[in-house]
């Protein structure tokens, strides 16, 4: 009979690897570069965190380096995705056709405010 904590940790690791797989699947299927940045960073961050958490539950004596890796992934992934998205918008990578609004576009800066905003002014 195996320890019940090992089985729980292995199940959490399996869930994390499924999240990694779904993130990579979205990387192939998404239509736009910004959607790819979004799915390629959020889902894989959660997947990596769950995988490391599962190994942390299986091997509790390795907690130091595993917690350090988790904090490192949690900090650096959003920063790199943000910088990549900003650079992509700066060099003018086109958005997909069904995009509703692009608030960083220069043409949208002179938009006439609608009725509610006029009333507030």
């Amino acid at each position: 009979m195996e320890n019940i904590l090992d089985i729980i940790g292995a199940i959490i690791t399996l869930i994390g690897s499924i999240f990694l797989f779904l993130g990579a699947l979205g990387l192939v299927r998404m239509p736009d570069i910004y959607n790819r940045i979004q799915t390629g960073t959020k889902a894989t961050t959660l997947g990596t965190l769950l995988t490391l958490l599962g190994i942390l539950i299986i091997m509790p004596e390795w907690w130091g380096r595993l917690v350090m890796l988790m904090i490192f992934v949690l900090i650096t992934n959003p920063v790199s995705s943000h910088v990549l998205a900003r650079a992509a918008h700066y060099i003018g990578v086109p958005l997909t056709k069904i995009t509703v609004v692009d608030k960083l576009d220069n043409k949208n800066l002179n938009i006439v405010p609608d009725e509610n905003e006029k009333n507030n002014l």
Binding site: E2, D6, I7, G9, A10, I11, T13, L14, G16, S17, I18, L20, F21, G23, A24, L25, L27, V28, I33, R36, I37, G40, T41, T44, T45, G47, T48, T51, L52, I55, I58, M59, W62, R65, L66, M68, L69, F72, V73, T76, N77, V79, S80, S81, V83, L84, R86, A87, A88, Y90, I91, V93
Partner: protein, 86 residues
Amino acid sequence: MVNILLYTSLVFIGLAIILAVVRFIKGNTTIDRIISFDVLTIISIALIAMISYMSGRIIYLDVALVYGLLSFLSVIIIARYFEKGL
């Protein structure tokens, strides 16, 4: 039981690596390739942690940490190069 679950998650990680390499080859722009490189690095961190558990050596976690540091630095430098130039 534990080994079956861990090998199944290794299979999922392998499929994720294959899909990221597909985007890396097919990518329309350079930013696409940088994103898939970043995703490959993140997947590799999880893979190295699992290999470190399976072989029972804690030293591989240091390898994962240094790998993640270098990848983060390279992504930041490439994005800054696209934005303002070096």
